[in-house]
Symmetry: C2
Subunit: 287 residues, 2 copies
């Protein structure tokens, strides 16, 4: 891959959710059936940590079950007990490898616990308490953005961030749209991961800042570059943006690249939306 | 487009061939019917030159009819008469614009005539004689690689290169595979254009040099990166190649990019095959 900057990896916990049809969960781990040859692959908390060491990850996640939505209280409670047990095993295995590899406190990767508990406040509270007892370098909020509405996500995030240690990073998994990120930062989230900026870009939807600050409503517009209206538009996508797309090419040219299925269009649009997100985060940090 | 290096453009003559179903040819030019709204677009020799000036081309082609294969002698002869007439009109229009724009001999673009005449020797000879009379900066050999076998192409190329002026570049349009390029250079061709290196790359077929020189048989192998055999192959595609792909990534990683439909795979493979072609041409120039 030859990526020489920091790498954050998930554990496979999201696939326990997204590949539900071809997996079984036992207390030992998750057993996946290969789509290709039907063979069985067991993912345990220990194997998930091993894999992340092979990748050379700098910030690792423990293996968890990302519960589906909706989900009964009983299912969520039982799942959480297992997720906490897996977190404990993950941490133990992680420490064993760090010791074996003789990695110093400064050179070792970081390991994050993942708060589950579905939409149930007492379960989320229990999750935080138990994970903090085990002790992690940071805490992820998982099991969100899998079907709930945004008010529910806000609620879960608020419950959780209030209880999490103030001196450790908080990472909201799988979120989100620009306004969702802004709201989450305002209630104390530090880190995000999401396919939205690049996936939207590949569909020709480009974020353009309005003159509003990120704390205000409508701080961006979405420009659908495939629209006929851009056919002869010789302006950059966003004249204030410093990305490769905006400094070198016109809306008309980008539309042409999309119309003719030129791969360069996907690349330029992705670079632009990522730049939009980076500038948004920069502004949020300054606030 | 922001391409700041030399640009060579075709005139639309190939589309007179490839879009045969939706066009009519008259002595004035080719009339295309728009696939989108059925509207008619007339491409004349003059308009083809105008368009190439708009693009900012450095090497322009005259409008011609690229005859289909097979093609009767009568059709080819009649078509050639028109192609020569179009070449004359193209040159005249080109000179008028150069004068109007006050471009010096050093700063003006170049204009190439295109030799047609299908597979008929006397027509090819007539084409060369007439085009040389008009006078061009270089001469393209057109109407090949549209269905003939390689022996026929070789024959046409040999007839034509023998007659073309020795002090002007010869450009074989639409050719070709590495060995076809080598053979054509050996009979006096200087320039080529072809989709093969990039199209093959996008299909996962990568050229790798053997230890043979380009003048020898089997001077390259084709590696189909999608093959299962490369799944764990940690070697570069070509260990002697200096391209981005070969200096940074393994066969296994490239195969992974193709398996998961990552756009980066297409890009790296294209860069590699283009590098292979550039090195091949370098070696041919040294011979």
């Amino acid at each position: 891959m030859k990526w020489d900057r920091p790498i954050l990896t998930d554990s496979g916990g999201f696939q326990v959710f997204s590949l539900a049809k071809i997996r079984k969960i036992t207390s030992e781990g998750a057993i996946f059936q290969s789509e290709i040859d039907g063979s069985r692959i067991t993912l345990t908390p220990e194997k998930a940590i091993d894999a992340q060491f092979v990748i050379g990850s700098d910030i690792m996640m423990v293996l968890d079950e990302c519960t589906p939505y909706p989900c009964t209280y009983e299912y969520a409670k039982k799942s959480l007990t297992m997720t906490i047990d897996w977190a404990r095993r993950s941490k133990k295995h992680f420490e064993m490898i760090v010791k074996k590899k003789k990695l110093s406190e400064k050179n070792r990767p970081l390991i994050f616990g993942i708060v589950q508990g579905s939409v149930f406040k007492d379960l989320r509270e229990e999750a935080v308490a138990e994970l903090v007892k085990i002790g992690f370098d940071g805490y992820a909020i998982g099991g969100v953005a899998v079907g709930e509405n945004m008010n529910q996500i806000d609620e879960i995030v608020c419950w959780t961030t209030e209880l999490l240690p103030k001196d450790k990073p908080r990472y909201l998994m799988g979120v989100g749209k620009p306004e969702e990120i802004v709201r989450s930062v305002h209630v104390g989230v530090d880190m995000f991961d999401c396919v939205i900026p690049t996936r939207e870009a590949r569909h020709g939807r480009l974020y353009v800042r309005t003159k509003k600050r990120v704390a205000e409503k409508k701080f961006y517009d979405v420009l659908n570059i495939k629209n006929a209206t851009f056919r002869d538009d010789m302006r950059p996508v966003d004249k204030y943006c410093v990305c490769l797309l905006c400094t070198q090419f016109t809306r008309s040219y980008l539309r042409h690249l999309f119309s003719t299925n030129e791969g360069l269009g996907l690349r330029l649009a992705s670079l632009h939306n990522l730049n939009f997100y980076l500038r948004m985060m920069e502004e949020l940090r300054k606030e």
